[in-house]
Symmetry: C2
DNA sequence: GATAGGGGCGTCAGTTTCTGTCGTAATAAT
DNA sequence: ATTATTACGACAGAAACTGACGCCCCTATC
């Protein structure tokens, strides 16, 4: 034991080892683990690591947590696909929370992202399974999540593509991409990722071009990450890029909205205000006046239009006229 | 060592111990841990557990993971507030995924739920911190999440209330609640939780009443879980309850919607279809016909209205007339 | 298909560390 | 005041862990 804080305690070594393991289908050799642990300050022989791995993979203690692919000779070790171990462990509250998170995210996020979260959700599900009160209703039968708003299907991103894109983005690497049905790869420099809920866009610059382009992730057929660095990565600033309106995002001027709400239309705003600047005043029976400072965006217009005849925009006049015009033109469609 | 699979391996014992620890501010005594591990099949003395706890709380290995409250005599052990340890450990993909999940959920979920997830998000954040490429842009500077739809603030639920409600619901326990500004507690039987995004409702029956009521979680000021069982918990069925329209949820008849979309309004439906029954056909230049089978709900009408003059509902005639009427009445507001 | 470099694993013996037991002092509970 | 619990130091036998070494098998490369 040299002077530094080298750890010769099996427990710590094993936990560090477990943390070094990738999740299947990725895998790692005992040699790589050895290097990694050594670089983390553990003073340990490779033999010990081999022993730990063997023991863990044979133990039933945490249910086939550690897997070994011994088909090819440098064995590949990994954590089983769906297994997960959290510290602190699950309890009722946490399992309920994960259950809720799963419900929230399932309609919202792309499949490939959900797949990554699956092991955690699975851990929560298993907790319920194990602690299921006999003859009683299951937790998930007691909870419903019914989000507001109309639901559209998220675009599908093939497994593995997103991983590589994230990797390139994270490590500032150029990449070759096969886009849509083009056969030729294109060399691009990735700068940022913009998630619009259903669709994720990658902000890139094509080789030899100056301008930024936006690629929808689900249109990438194949990706190959290169070793060359992205040029100018440190000068690109996503915030200002978005603020400049480059992606038609809902950034608008701040306006002081005054709106009349009829009937029960205002009810939900008491529970869930637009933001903290909101004030509501009942100016006559069944008529409530909303005043709030908001961004003047496309989404705001959707929201107002969606409320239909239950609302009337008073100010700003410009927005009032826009809404009026839109309603009028819409009505004409049906004439 | 008796005949059964009792585990006398420190590593496994310690991991089991770590999983038995609650997260601060909850805490557990060494005696309780002993009971729990024993019931899980570990054959171990309390002394060993005490030794493990001491060792873990003094070790720097996982950064003050285990805490001890030694102010009062049966010491209270816990996992530190923000600490978390996942197996398998973080990698770039997973950290990026958690970062994204945090972005998705932050505007969506109530504060108390987010607090529970904080340690995981924190673990991801720390991973980025540790693997930050020198002088390079931070991961979170490369990613933006800009959800579609107009954002309303989720209602606030005080910390601890939700925990107790979940607990009562999970364990089928009656509870006393202090609702809104009423001073008196009410005895209720909780049956289910319905999450509407911004607001969570608890389906309960008040003591001595037959009908079900809905309580918004953020209106509960205080909760006291009792030891008495909920009556009739096993006969209550949330699904049918909701289907019967008891909560004005967006469950509607299935209809075959035919709609004309003008200009670029149809574009996003190619990327993010309504559902798998959707078909799109360009019937004339700049006019696309959408056919899809959907639930005829309030949210559908919001969506259609929100699209304003860019769409025209063709069928069903009933919906067409509703939309027409709504647009007409809306327009009149501005006359 | 020969050969070299690794990788996996059996063995061993010294050493470390782990464990249950017991005793004591301090702390809560009654 | 008295009783039950708890924390913790000490100890010694037992268990396990470890690094070293060497053999054999696999794989890649020529």
């Amino acid at each position: 034991m040299a002077g530094n804080a080298s750890i010769s305690n099996k427990t710590y070594r094993v936990i560090a080892l477990l943390q070094a393991l990738p999740r299947s289908p990725h895998k790692i050799t005992s040699n790589e683990i050895h290097q990694r642990l050594t670089s983390e300050g553990h003073d340990i022989t490779r033999r010990s690591i081999e022993r730990y791995l063997k023991e863990l993979s044979e133990s039933q203690a945490f249910g086939a947590l550690v897997q070994c692919d011994d088909k090819a000779m440098p064995y590949g070790w990994s954590v089983a696909q769906k297994q997960n171990l959290s510290i602190p462990g699950m309890d009722a509250q946490m399992a309920a929370t994960w259950d809720l998170v799963a419900r929230y995210l399932t309609p919202l996020m792309a499949k490939d992202v959900l797949d990554k979260l699956e092991p955690v959700f699975n851990e929560a599900r298993k907790w319920f399974e194990r602690h299921r009160p006999m003859g009683k209703r299951y937790w998930s039968d007691k909870v419903a999540y019914v989000p507001r708003g109309f639901h559209l299907e998220p675009a599908r991103v093939s497994a593995g593509i997103a991983d590589q894109v994230y990797d390139a983005l994270y490590r500032n690497r150029q990449m070759n991409i096969w886009y849509k049905d083009k056969d030729e790869p294109h060399l691009v420099h990735p700068y940022a990722l913009v998630d619009r809920g259903a669709v994720r866009y990658l902000v890139v610059r094509f080789w030899n071009y100056k301008d930024y382009r936006h690629l929808a992730l689900h249109r990438l057929r194949k990706v190959h990450v290169l070793d060359d660095e992205v040029e100018g990565a440190s000068t690109f600033d996503l915030d200002t890029y978005l603020q400049e309106g480059n992606m038609n995002l809902p950034y608008g001027d701040s306006i002081n909205l005054v709106m009349r709400l009829y009937g029960r239309a205002a009810d939900h705003l008491y529970e869930t205000p637009v933001n903290e600047t909101q004030t509501l005043k009942e100016i006559e029976p069944d008529v409530t006046e909303l005043r709030v400072q908001v961004q003047n965006t496309e989404e705001l217009r959707w929201w107002v239009l969606g409320l239909g005849a239950n609302v009337e925009v008073v100010k700003p006049v410009k927005l009032r006229n826009q809404i009026k015009l839109e309603l009028g033109r819409g009505f004409e469609r049906y004439a």
